[in-house]
């Protein structure tokens, strides 16, 4: 049975950058190819993950563009699955290699966002909602806010609990030179200071600024290879042990229990089944914390904690580095940043660094298994991946 491994994996620094979308795809691709000890001509296929290239930068056919810039004439597609494009593209590369048709596949993802006003970005992002919700004025944060209000009431979760997630992710990002926001924050300055309304205003009650991931530019790239091929190039392959993907109703209002993200449950169940391991074997996880509340809910729905108990794990520090399950060691979407099409790839890049022992100041000692979940839409599409350190 063919296995799929990761060779080079890298990202640009995320943040407000001067590079354009083409450079955000090209730069990490060149680095990933070089660090794989490959050259462009070795590639069999490439996938791009990107959500809003046409809307924000007036550029589509990104696959062709990158192939051209790399000087190759191989098959190339852009994968769009909202902000889960990155994990979807990895999934497609995995399938392409697994099928036996291709041995070496490049996945590059990027988004250029910070040149546009926040309300314009909010509108474009809201295009992935159900039309009746969007036409009623709903945005992603407003749906996150309603989920948060229901969840907090049901399980006794406080604004302090949510702030603790932001504080943890900011703390992790301080040790990640690639992160967008590298600023220490405390629960006290987010919720109990005189400056609270200025630095942390309400965006969609009960979610404040620091409950919501920033708008970022960034790119990331990953080279995948059939395992036996990969072994020719590296002593440290990281294997993809499994993936899962599931959808749920496009509209939040159609979900029987709005606080359950069933797509995450189903995608994660599939990924664990394919990899033959259980959630308690995972050493490090990258979750899709577009909003702090989502980190809580996903950590339960992915199978790590019982429903309604994740906030207790946060209070005990179990999701910090050194705890039972370190979550978002990279800083997560909250602090690493969230350039939509690059996000899923940057989760994989962080896991690869962790599993190779290259995560420096934020290293989880001896990490063997890594898990990621990448959300497309408001919980309507989820892709879970399980990675393993090569033996």
């Amino acid at each position: 049975m063919r296995k799929v491994a990761i060779l080079g994996a890298t990202m640009t620094k995320f943040g407000k950058l001067t590079q354009g979308l083409d450079e955000l795809l090209l730069e990490p691709s060149l680095t990933a190819i070089e660090s794989s000890k490959l050259s462009e001509k070795d590639l069999d296929l490439l996938y791009i993950s990107n959500m809003l290239g046409g809307e924000l930068t007036k550029q589509v056919s990104l696959g062709t563009m990158l192939a051209d810039e790399l000087g190759v004439k191989i098959g190339a597609d852009r994968i769009e699955n909202g902000p889960a494009a990155g994990a979807s593209a990895i999934k497609d590369a995995f399938i392409a290699i697994k099928s036996g048709l291709f041995d070496l596949v490049l996945v590059a993802g990027a988004e250029k966002m910070t040149h546009m006003a926040t309300e314009v970005i909010s509108e474009y992002i809201s295009y992935m909602l159900h039309p009746v919700e969007r036409m009623s004025g709903a945005t992603l944060p407003s749906l996150g806010a309603m989920l948060a209000r229901l969840y907090m009431k049901q399980y006794g979760v406080t604004s302090e609990d949510l702030a603790m997630i932001a504080v943890k992710n900011h703390k992790n990002a301080l040790n990640n030179p690639y992160a967008h926001l590298q600023k220490m924050v405390t629960v006290d300055n987010l919720l109990h200071s005189n400056e609270m309304e200025k630095i942390n205003p309400m965006v969609a009650d009960p979610l404040r600024r620091f409950d919501i991931s920033p708008i970022s530019d960034g790119g990331a790239a990953v080279v995948l290879a059939e395992l036996e091929v990969a072994k020719k190039y590296t002593d440290l392959p990281v294997t993809i042990e499994g993936f899962g993907q599931a959808t749920d109703s496009l509209a939040l209002h159609e979900r029987p229990v709005p606080t359950d993200i069933n797509a995450v449950k189903e995608a994660s169940k599939q990924a664990f089944k394919m990899s033959g391991i259980s959630p308690d074997q995972i050493d490090v996880a990258e979750l899709h914390d577009a909003f702090t509340i989502l980190e809580l809910v996903e950590s339960e729905d992915a199978g790590f904690f019982e429903k309604g108990t994740a906030h207790k794990m946060v209070r005990e520090g179990q999701t910090e580095i050194g705890g039972k399950l370190p979550i978002n060691t990279s800083g997560g979407l909250k602090a690493r940043g969230h350039p939509l099409g690059a996000t899923g790839l940057s989760q994989v890049v962080e896991l690869v660094w962790q599993l190779r022992g290259e995560a420096r100041g934020r290293q989880v000692p001896g990490a063997t298994y890594g898990f990621s979940v990448n959300l497309g839409g408001f919980g309507s599409n989820a892709v879970s991946l399980i990675l393993k350190r090569g033996d």
Binding site: E123, V132, M135, S136, A145, D205, L207, H253
Partner: protein, 135 residues
């Protein structure tokens, strides 16, 4: 941006026109072509009741660009009296009456307008019932 299908589907937006599965009786808003529950395609139009209760809500102070003039936008997750749910803007809000379980009714209001053409789009919003507001 309001999609062009607004005009084809406007009865959904102005009269809460949804659908009902003739095979199993399940009701839907917005209308569906295939029943989510029994997968039947035997579906008929069905107007939704215009009354319901507020399950939860939020006050959105950073709306999408096209709703910017309406800031803040109050949104509610509403359960209609037939059990069908929807997300709707809340109209004429006084914050003290925003409570889970508050009875709400549909009203027709301006949703948004198109800049250059000036076309105004109307649709449903929900409003906390007057009797509840006074109590």
């Amino acid at each position: 941006m309001i999609p062009i299908s607004y005009w084809r589907n406007r009865r959904s937006y102005t009269a809460l026109m949804g659908s009902r599965c003739r095979a199993c009786g399940a009701e839907y808003f917005p209308p569906v072509r295939v029943c989510r529950k029994c997968k039947s395609r035997d579906i008929e139009p069905r107007e939704m009741p215009r009354k319901g209760t507020l399950i939860t809500y939020t006050k959105l102070t950073e709306p999408a660009e096209e709703f910017g003039k309406q800031t803040p936008v109050y949104l509610g997750l509403i359960e209609l009296s037939n059990g069908v749910k929807l997300v709707s803007t809340l109209a004429d809000v006084s914050e003290s009456e925003l409570n889970e379980g508050a009875p709400v009714s549909m009203v027709i209001r301006r949703w948004t307008e198109e800049g250059p053409t000036g076309i105004i789009y109307y649709g449903y919003k929900f409003k906390v019932d007057a009797a509840y507001s006074m109590s």
